[in-house]
Symmetry: C2
Subunit: 235 residues, 2 copies
């Protein structure tokens, strides 16, 4: 058997699909490469795995480097290993997707990266198979968010029901009935209503809610059926 690395070089990388939400749209973080090859082209945030770390470690390191934030929601998406996916040299990449409150994000003074948030609906051309990776990430985000309380990770600590609804509507590209949406969310008992109101969005104002973090972790796996998955979505 020809074992890899015995004959030929193999590069081992991670790519991060970082989703953010600015109150209007779902966004993806991409970087403009400042180095050859493909200088100036857009790509996902990524990097090579170092000798003393796992792929998870590498993805966390890169996320921290880029966003300045620890403890972001992150999960493994898929491993990509097609022989010609990287046109320069054979590279396998494990893709991770992460969710971030875009408000918390502070641009890091890191000249290796030139990050930008782009609308998920108007993606630029990305290098290699990165477009395909993002498509898979979008699918998995929708799939997982329909079954688990994920999307809170994209919002600030305090948020209103209309804000949450708008986010869901962005992700699923559909509209929900506000009454039913609110009842459905509240029935999970994951949220705590605050006394404070947000007066930005309307004259009446909407109450803030926050995630009840104890219940959140406990019932991550019993949040199923929030969105009647696959029915009524528009792709």
């Amino acid at each position: 058997m020809k074992r890899y690395s015995q004959q030929k070089r193999l590069l081992f990388a991670v790519d991060c699909i970082i989703f953010g939400y600015d109150g209007q749209e779902l966004k993806l973080m991409v970087i403009q490469r400042s180095f050859s090859p493909f200088k100036g082209d857009w790509s996902l945030v990524g990097g090579f795995v170092e000798e003393k770390e796992s792929a998870e470690d590498a993805a966390k390191r890169i996320l921290k480097q880029l966003t300045g934030l620890d403890g972001l929601y992150m999960e493994q998406l898929h491993a990509f290993s097609a022989i010609d996916r990287d046109t320069v040299e054979r590279t396998i990449s494990i893709a991770y997707f992460a969710l971030i409150d875009i408000q918390k994000y502070k641009k890091q003074i890191n000249e290796d990266f030139h990050p930008a948030w782009v609308s998920i609906n108007k993606l630029p051309k990305l290098i290699f198979d990165h477009t395909e990776i993002v498509e898979l990430a979008k699918k998995k985000l929708r799939y997982n968010a329909a079954l688990h309380p994920l999307l809170f990770e994209l919002l600030p600590a305090k948020f209103t029901m209309p804000q949450l609804q708008h986010l869901y509507q962005c992700v699923y590209n559909t509209e929900f009935d506000k009454g039913n949406f609110s009842r459905k969310i509240l029935s999970t008992k994951l949220l705590m209503k605050l006394k404070e109101k947000d007066k930005q969005g309307s004259k009446k104002g909407a109450f803030y809610y926050k995630v009840d973090s104890k219940k959140y972790t406990a019932s991550f796996n019993s949040f199923l059926n929030l969105v009647p998955a696959q029915n009524g979505w528009k792709e």
Copy 2:
């Protein structure tokens, strides 16, 4: 940046979690290593990825080699890359899980492997992190089978409703009401009732069904909610 393979050797492998069902129990295929190190110990079926193939290709090749079968249901489970997961040399492994009709399986005359089917509830000790990998695979099998018409892959082309129900009960370690189970399955319109009956299981005999393959692929993603996931399961 220290890129992998520039300094140090990295092995690139795949592992296959092969599930089968013999009419009684859910089974896992394991092999007894005929070579050092760990000769005689049990492990998952696996192998190294060759230069000219992707991890998917490698997994398919190994499945074919072991079972003699093409076109098995297979999906990527997870990539494992902890630095010390392989105690001999650093190896990353992409795990795939596969479902097989155990009747179709014919032992291959391949002396590299010594395969055995073991009950999923009485797993032997496995090398490295393979036990952990199997646990994850079990979880994902349950998760996915609750949302998609997966488990048919474990049955022969013709099967009866009681057989299907027994399989589901094995997978979820629970009991279903036969009436409700049957109606729920049939409501998906995925099955075609045959005129023939199986007389093995009972005096009255049970009608055979087969998967309507056109509808099967079409509605793979709309089979959601077969098992009210997480409610009423026993781990």
